[in-house]
Amino acid sequence: MADPLLRVENLVRSFGGIKATDNLSLDVVPGELHAIIGPNGAGKTTLISQLTGQLMPNSGTIHFAGREITRLPPYQRSRLGLARSFQITCLLPDFTAADNVALAAQAHDGHSFRFWGSARKERHLRDAAQAALARVGLARRADVLVSELSHGEQRELELAVALATKPQLLLLDEPMAGLGVTESARMVALLKELRKEVTIVLVEHDMEAVFALADRITVLVYGRVIASGDPDAIRNNEEVKRAYLGDQHVVASHG
């Protein structure tokens, strides 16, 4: 197996007496789409927050592209090529779609202590934004304010913003959340395209999507990894079936 792009070792994070991340270890190899699933409260978002730096672990280490990033703040991780989308849409509501993406491109194009020239007239930033918007199918919505985009469009814009930072690794926190059937299908198709270019860690509740997309799946329960493997192995794993109990028919019937 290739050297992992992301290596998480013995990560621990507790809130009061509750261990939200309990001695968790995980490898993501370049090029794979690695899905993380688990029942509600399994600690998926806590894990993502530690990977992106919003939350610091109590102990354990995180390595990204051969470099330890355990204590780095979010903006430095982004510089290294770690991008995320948020579970609850997190955009700049009073900016246009194009502005949102152009800012992401700007963040990775030198420092921004430039006080004079108009940023909106910088051709290469605008072009980069337009390209990322086109990737997610929002090219024609570039000049619309984010607050006026539909929920589905905002989810797609989240992806475009992440892509504009030219990431090596894309952390997607429930990109399907709140999407209708057709919008979900579009998102799955989009992710199928993106996975060819970038390594993806996908946290998702939509089992159908996960089993359709993932190369490997890691199952979390109470902050611990109870299983990790390809979709077939996970589908047939007894412990996973037990963890999902009521949901096991979902796990068994798709893919």
Binding site: T52, Q54, P73, P74, Y75, S78, R79, A83, R84, F86, C90, L91, L92, P93, D94, F95, D99, A102, L103, A104, Q106, A107, H108, S112, F113, R114, F115, W116, G117, S118, A119, R120, E122, V161, A164, T165
Partner: protein, 315 residues
């Protein structure tokens, strides 16, 4: 192509034109008072515009902006008192001290957000106020008279009303132009992005506080210039000029005119100070009328005067 001819832009252009022609009007009618009044208005407009940069565009509710008026003023007054009358020394010192103060205060207070930020900027400004009150060599509580305005080696005579007015106006227009460039620059986009959603800006790779701090320093420095102008205008400095009520008035001027609009603070200052002038001729309780007016603007005219004009423009 957007049309630039609408009610808002026409009014902004007329106001700018009016400010430029005011000395001519004053000379024709022999009305010196109006020139004195508008010199004061123009200086406060510059201070309000600088506050708008952090408050309107940066989302940083500083409740201590009067401190810069004081620092800029004291730099001029103290140096004049010590026999250094040259504006080429006084003014750079005023700007540098304001920038330094903003850097220190900003580095400490930008660790906080919201109400705590308001309180900590207020606390620092009050400290500056009490320090000024304690400067017994420079008049303490009573303040200090400036016997000679800043000199610029014969380039410009600040004691000449018209020349001084145009200097203030040039500073205002220059300041607004600078803020316009900044707001639309890469830097300005980042600062406004952080106002809109700080978490998002961190996630895409911006060290938010570094940009906030630089913005805070730029704003403070511009306001320090207003302070140097104000001291020359009144020929007097005192701690009273940096009391927290003065910071509050600056905030009201910005909100009146429209937070986050380029020319709004200028209109807000004109309306605020004119109202104060007119109302105080009728009653010493003019604040009783000003207060409800501010309430009405906040409740019914989001975006202040500029917001109202914008809605007019769209019909």
């Amino acid at each position: 192509m957007k049309s630039y001819i609408n009610a808002r832009n026409v009014i902004v252009a007329l106001v700018a034109l009016g400010l430029t022609l005011l000395p001519a009007y004053s000379a024709l009618t022999g009305n010196i008072f109006i020139l004195t009044l508008f010199t004061r208005i123009v200086i406060f407009a510059l201070a309000a515009a600088s506050l708008n940069l952090i408050m309107g565009y940066g989302g940083m509710m500083s409740f201590g902006h009067a401190a810069y008026l004081g620092i800029g003023g004291y730099a001029v007054g103290v140096l004049a008192h010590e026999g250094i009358g040259s504006g080429f020394i006084q003014w750079p010192v005023a700007l540098a001290l304001s920038a330094l103060y903003a850097l220190v205060i900003g580095a400490l207070s930008l660790r906080t957000r919201g109400v705590y930020f308001i309180m900590i900027t207020l606390a620092f400004a009050q400290m500056a106020y009490y320090i000024a009150s304690g400067l017994s060599r420079y008049g303490g509580d009573d303040g200090l008279t400036i016997y000679k305005r800043s000199t610029f080696g014969g380039l410009i005579d600040l004691s000449n009303r018209v020349q001084f007015y145009y200097l203030c106006l040039a500073c205002l227009f220059g300041g607004v132009y600078l803020i316009w460039r900044i707001v639309n620059s890469r830097f300005g986009m980042v600062v406004q992005g952080v106002r809109s959603n700080e978490q998002r800006m961190q996630a895409i790779g911006f060290h938010a506080n570094r940009y906030r701090l630089v913005c805070f320093v730029i704003s403070g420095t511009i306001c320090g210039l207003a302070g140097a102008l104000l001291a020359n205008n009144t020929d007097f400095i005192s701690p009273a000029g940096m009391y927290w009520t003065r910071s509050g008035e600056l905030m009201v001027m910005v909100v009146f005119g429209g937070m986050g609009s380029l020319f709004g603070p200028v209109l807000g200052t004109i309306v605020f100070l004119l109202l104060e002038e007119v109302l105080s001729q009728f009653t010493e309780y003019w604040a009783l009328i000003m207060g409800p007016l501010l309430l009405l603007i906040v409740l019914f005219a989001r975006g202040g005067i500029m917001g109202l004009l914008g809605r007019l423009s769209r019909g």
